[in-house]
């Protein structure tokens, strides 16, 4: 391929864009909106995944004490645990606090607690393993050491719960992939159609180019470049709109689930670049499909 051709292709693509400015802008707008819908979905998906990950990764361990432990004993244990890499103390719950929170949990069945002659609930200490996963041996080692201590009655490690979170995450990923896939197809369809409509409007131009002896590559290349640019611009616009929406929401709102306030993350630069590349490829594909019917044998 001579470089003069490549220059011609790009020059022609840009000329076409500026000649058919309105149609081009309409196309870019449509593509942007289609992508915006798709990208919003990706953003929601990324965030749900993020939350699930956060929750899944903070495995908790509850240490139940025998009887009423001495404050000094508890403090000693706390300072010991806090020195272990990856462990945080969440909270100490005394016997009194335990029964109060049980009463709260029971709600209208609280009345039955009156029948008790002594507080049967143990005091407990809850610790959190940051970034641990189910294969990490650390929690198990700690559990063994704690269980040997005199003041400790039982140790519960939230391994099972982690399994549940993982299952939920798996389900979210599956549903998300299916929905995202369908939405992706819809986006692809809207975008190729939009590009087709802009190409069809120039049927006449293609015909004349063939009559003067232009080869298929020569005719197609500027259209393909134009389609790629259109896709890329649409994708970029969609990302900008998404970012603007994200910033607006972040400024106004404070999201909470229960008492934990949730941080909403934006899609990572990697995903952003991927989405841009994808929009360009869709633009390319769209124009390629649109041109197809003019180049049948």
């Amino acid at each position: 391929m001579k470089t003069s051709f490549i220059k011609y292709f790009f020059r022609q693509a840009l000329t076409n864009i500026s000649d058919n400015r309105t149609a081009h802008l309409l196309g870019v707008g449509t593509i942007a909106i289609a992508f915006l819908i798709f990208n919003s979905f990706i953003l929601a998906y990324v965030n749900i995944n993020h939350w699930a990950d956060e929750m899944g990764k903070s495995l908790t361990m509850t240490i139940y004490f025998k009887g009423q432990p001495q404050e000094i004993e508890v403090e000693e244990l706390k300072s010991e645990l806090i020195n272990i890499q990856g462990v945080t103390i969440n909270k100490f719950v005394s016997k009194e606090e335990a029964i109060r929170s049980l009463a709260k949990e029971l709600g209208d069945k609280e009345g039955f607690l009156k029948g008790l002659n002594e507080n049967p609930l143990p005091a407990s200490l809850e610790i959190v393993f940051l970034k641990a996963d189910r294969e990490d041996p650390l929690p198990y080692n700690i559990k063994k050491r704690l269980e040997k201590m005199d003041i400790v009655d039982e140790v519960h490690y939230s391994e099972e719960w982690a399994g549940k979170i993982e299952a939920i995450m798996g389900a979210i990923k599956l549903i998300g992939s299916v929905l995202g896939g369908l939405l992706f197809l819809a986006t692809l369809f809207i975008i190729t159609n939009t590009i087709k409509l802009t190409v069809f409007a120039r049927e006449n131009e293609i015909e004349i180019l063939r009559l003067v002896g232009a080869t298929n590559v020569f005719i197609k290349a500027p259209f393909l470049i134009e389609g790629s640019i259109q896709g890329l611009l649409g994708g970029l616009l969609a990302l900008i709109m998404l970012l603007a929406g994200y910033v607006t929401v972040m400024i106004r709102a404070d999201f909470k689930i229960g008492f934990a306030s949730l941080d909403i993350v934006f899609i990572s630069p990697h995903i952003a670049v991927f989405l841009l590349l994808m929009s360009m490829i869709i633009g390319l594909l769209g124009s390629s499909i649109a041109l197809g019917r003019f180049f049948k044998a």
Binding site: S4, Y8, N20, V212, G213, A297
Partner: protein, 221 residues
């Protein structure tokens, strides 16, 4: 066996069952000939040129153009054959959204000619046709006759082996007509095979060239 530049054997072209445009037409045009094709409106002149140019395929019969059987021509071959044929279309077929310069330069660009050469050649050709001032205009901004001259410029820019001109002076005044005919004669002298389809009795009056007269798709003279 030696073939002429354009050779048609018993060519038929029907647009639908009751609509024959070309009927049993055989024709032999040698390399370097200058031929007028005439006949009343709807006689089949344009259709004949279209067959030679491979933008219509014959319903039956064979045609050889520049030694190539156009019934069996392939996509890529077709593009290359067309670059050797310059055509002035009856309806000009200019690209409305490209300037006069770009409409004409197009035929050189598709062959990968370098830009400095393109510039020189386009300027020269436009000057010959009195269009220097209109270089940056778009076709819809031109008068009918100016458009026709742009079409002529595009057809002759890359020294084609064959020049097909369909009613090339229909929108031109007598003076420019004489100039254009002189230009076609000059191109013919350089060795190009020229076919001109026309109604104009003016053009045919004093010519010594070969005249093919069509009527209802048949050669009558």
């Amino acid at each position: 066996m030696v073939f002429g530049m354009i050779k048609l054997f018993n060519v038929y072209k029907n647009f639908g069952p009751k609509n024959p445009a070309i009927v049993d037409l055989s024709l032999n045009i040698e390399k370097g000939e200058f031929v007028f094709i005439t006949g009343p409106s709807g006689a089949g002149k344009t259709t004949l040129l279209k067959i030679i140019f491979c933008s219509e395929r014959p319903t039956s019969g064979n045609a050889l153009v520049n030694g190539i059987n156009i019934n069996r021509i392939k996509e890529k071959q077709l593009a290359f054959l067309r670059r050797k044929i310059g055509v002035v279309f009856q309806d000009f077929k200019l690209l409305p959204n490209r300037t006069v310069f770009n409409n004409v330069s197009l035929c050189l660009e598709i062959s990968g000619v370098q830009y400095p050469i393109i510039r020189k050649k386009v300027h020269q050709t436009l000057r010959q046709l009195g269009l220097s001032k209109k270089e940056r205009y778009y076709p819809p901004q031109l008068s009918g006759g100016e458009q026709q001259r742009v079409a002529i410029a595009r057809a002759i820019i890359n020294n084609p082996s064959i020049l097909l001109a369909d009613e090339p002076t229909g929108n031109l005044d007598p003076e420019i007509t004489i100039e254009i005919m002189a230009l076609l004669e000059e191109i013919h002298q350089r060795g190009t095979t020229v076919l001109v389809a026309t109604h104009s009795q003016e053009l045919l009056k004093d010519t010594e060239k070969k005249i093919v007269t069509l009527n209802k798709g048949r050669i009558v003279k």
